[in-house]
């Protein structure tokens, strides 16, 4: 017997390189970049006010062959629950499952704890459990591809979301516009709101996470185009103390920093505090839709923006799975809109009652158990 995948995994594509901010990441793919930037302005199709059911420029696929009478057993192989974003997302997903209880008999969740090889084993494991549909949120794109392919071969509908896989075998791939959009929006804002030729500090979490890499590569393009002086690209490990120290040292080294770009919002508050504690004005900065940042932004009247990687995307795979099991057409890929929080709509999202690490863009206010479940 063998669990061998149908086709060999394909290598990650490579793109153009070379710019003032260092070599372009090998994750950069020009075509994807162009497509994502175009999507930023596209009008979504689908029910109004429910972005998790909307799709951008959808191409529908037929799913009749998966039609099956309910109630269903839906299985989910999760990359991990090791950060607040995934926690909020997963709670949202569970709430969605609860909302659909009449149709979902059983929801099996296995947490890979951020380990590629465990997730591969998990997927294999789930294939033996008689699932009607399999949802996968891959830990790493390239490395999970073979496992997802072997799942497809079993003939059950596979839905991938968040990070993708290098194969088209899943019925659909759900995710928001993506990293290029995020990085681009933030970089445009930072470079557009600071003094021309000013100094930007780019704070990144970790090297080598594809979602974050695409964000940075898009920002790089934007900064190079705007002729911004990126004085440093530093990794913070998501550690606020480290972030503050880095910002402090850069302030000392350069006197002032005129803009801060971040590839994720986790340490945005720490970065802002570093400026405040040093008695310096907070320069244009981007964060994410985490409430501690939104609150600080509101209180301190920052020049800020929060592109999002919305956690409501955790609802969509469940919805997609049920549609597929109904034999309904679904968009593939399922591109979700990716709203940005700006000064204009800040008040709408900065809910003071939610915990500081909650993500405002959870699309969860209509789900059962809100808000206690997320507290």
């Amino acid at each position: 017997a063998t669990d061998e995948p149908a086709t060999a995994p394909s290598a990650a594509a490579s793109g153009p390189a070379g710019s003032g901010t260092g070599e372009q990441s090998k994750f950069f793919v020009q075509a994807d970049y162009d497509r994502e930037l175009a999507l930023l302005d596209a009008t979504p199709a689908g029910p109004d006010g429910k972005p998790w059911e909307q799709a951008l420029q959808p191409t529908m696929v037929d799913t009749a062959k998966f039609k099956k009478a309910g109630p269903h057993k839906i299985c989910f192989s999760n990359a991990g629950l090791n950060n607040p974003w995934r926690q909020v997302g997963f709670k949202t997903m569970q709430a969605e499952v609860d909302a659909q209880r009449s149709r979902i008999e059983q929801f099996v969740h296995i947490d890979a704890e951020g380990k590629d090889q465990k997730q591969i084993a998990d997927i294999n494991d789930l294939l033996g459990k008689g699932c009607d549909a399999l949802i996968v949120s891959p830990n790493t794109t390239a490395t999970l591809t073979p496992a997802v392919e072997s799942a497809c071969k079993k003939g059950l509908p596979v839905i991938v979301f968040d990070r993708g896989v290098d194969t088209t075998c899943p019925v659909t791939f759900v995710n928001p516009i993506g990293g290029y959009g995020f990085g681009h929006v933030a970089a445009e804002f930072v470079s557009g709101n600071m003094k021309p030729g000013g100094k930007v500090l780019a704070l990144r979490i970790l090297p080598g996470v594809d979602v974050l890499e695409t964000r940075w590569s898009a920002a790089k393009v934007a900064f190079d185009k705007a002729g911004v002086n990126v004085v440093g690209v530093e990794f913070t490990d998501g550690d606020p103390a480290k972030t503050k120290k880095i910002v402090n040292d850069y302030l000392q080294r350069y006197g002032t920093i005129d803009g801060v770009w971040m590839d994720a919002g986790a340490v945005a508050v720490a970065a802002v505090e570093a400026f405040l504690d040093a008695g310096q004005p907070v320069p244009p900065i981007n964060g994410e839709d985490q409430l501690d940042f939104l609150k600080l932004w509101k209180d301190r009247k920052l020049t800020a923006i929060a592109p999002t990687y919305p956690t409501y995307q955790w609802r969509t795979p469940v919805i997609a799975a049920l549609k597929i099991l109904d034999g309904e057409q679904v968009p593939s890929p399922w591109k979700l809109p990716q709203p940005t929080i700006t000064q204009e709509n800040l008040a709408q999202y900065a809910d003071p009652d939610m915990p500081p690490l909650h993500y405002a863009m959870c699309g969860c206010t209509d789900l059962p158990g809100y808000p206690d479940r997320w507290k």
């Binding site: 017997a1 061998e4 590629d116 390239a142």
Partner: protein
């Protein structure tokens, strides 16, 4: 005097196997009550795959720990090895052997470096291997921003996914490596000398053992095992992954498995069989908790408790044996 004393030295079987059987039996029961099947083929396959990865590292770690040393750089060696293998292969079956060879050679080189730092420069193994780990981390962080290279399809199809019944090839590889390590410890001079060096370096030296050489060899073998684990992971993942070793916590988990298996951190006592038992125990706990969909964090708490408790039990037994 405990009954363990009356057994011949060689067969002082570590309690880990008792723990393993109990855990699996209770786990099977609880999972069955929960409506699942612990020993279904896919679950067994998954369990054995998890065990194979950790096991390869832990077997190597056993060697250095028996020698009274320690290797905390294995996680990075694993990551590096996946990359060297996958990049050399570049998805081409023709480059399969060079890929494996190069990955093992690089790993062995790191092991040599660890060994020399510990024996010749006389840096405490903890600091020496953490330091080497940091060097490698910098190289990986700087050189790679994500998976790279492509494992030869032939390797993916065999080592990565081939199995015989419910037993993956990789687990057979682990058994092979563990067997070889057991054989090395029991039947080669190197093994006898390693146990002696770990037990009492001065006695070993006076008996004509070349301590440094033995310990360096152990470090090289440990790194080779980590390299092998890397090759296995590359075949599983289809490409090189610069963070797979650290994500898997292979450094600390391998030491935990070694200690669970009854090998003393101080060196000189222990064996590979116990380590394999320790690995299976950890993988078994994983599988059971997976079946029960137990929270990963709760699982971690349980792991911590089990590790401490198991070692405490060994410690009491040893104390019972030793003089007051």
């Amino acid at each position: 005097m405990s009954s363990a004393l009356s057994m011949p030295a060689r067969r002082a079987s570590p309690g880990v196997f008792v723990a393993l059987v109990l855990t699996l039996a209770i786990g099977w029961l609880v999972v069955a009550i929960d409506g699942g099947q612990l020993f279904s083929v896919p679950t067994t396959v998954s369990l054995l795959h998890v065990a194979a990865g950790l096991g390869l590292v832990a077997v190597g770690q056993t060697l250095v720990v028996i020698g009274g040393s320690l290797d905390l750089s294995v996680a990075y060696v694993i990551s590096l090895s996946t990359l060297v293998a996958a990049e050399t292969m570049g998805g081409d079956d023709a480059a399969l052997l060079p890929g494996i060879g190069l990955a093992l050679a690089v790993s062995a080189g790191i092991g040599l470096c660890n060994g020399l730092l510990v024996t010749k420069v006389k840096i405490n193994p903890f600091i020496a291997t953490v330091g080497v780990g940091l060097l490698l981390k910098g190289y990986l962080d700087n050189g790679y921003d994500g998976p790279a290279g492509r494992t030869a399809p032939a390797l993916v199809q065999t080592l990565g996914y081939q199995r015989i019944g419910p037993v993956p090839l990789s687990f057979l590889l682990l058994l092979g490596v563990a067997g070889a390590a057991w054989f090395a410890l029991a039947r080669t001079r190197f093994g006898h000398h390693l146990i002696a060096v770990g037990g009492d370096p001065e006695v070993a030296r006076l008996s004509g053992v070349r301590n440094s050489r033995v310990l360096v060899t152990a470090h090289v073998l440990c790194s080779l095992c980590a390299g092998l684990a890397g090759i296995y992971l590359a075949s599983r993942l289809g490409s090189g992954a610069p963070r797979v070793g650290t994500e898997g916590l292979y450094d600390l988990e391998s030491i935990a498995a070694v200690v669970l298996g009854g090998t003393a951190l101080a060196g000189g006592i222990g064996g590979v069989a116990g380590t394999v038992g320790g690995v299976l125990l950890l993988a078994g706990i994983d599988a059971i908790f997976n079946q029960l969909e137990v929270d990963a964090f709760f699982k971690q708490v349980i792991r911590g408790v089990i590790i401490i408790a198991a070692v405490a039990v060994y410690a009491q037994r040893v104390r019972g044996r030793a003089a007051p």
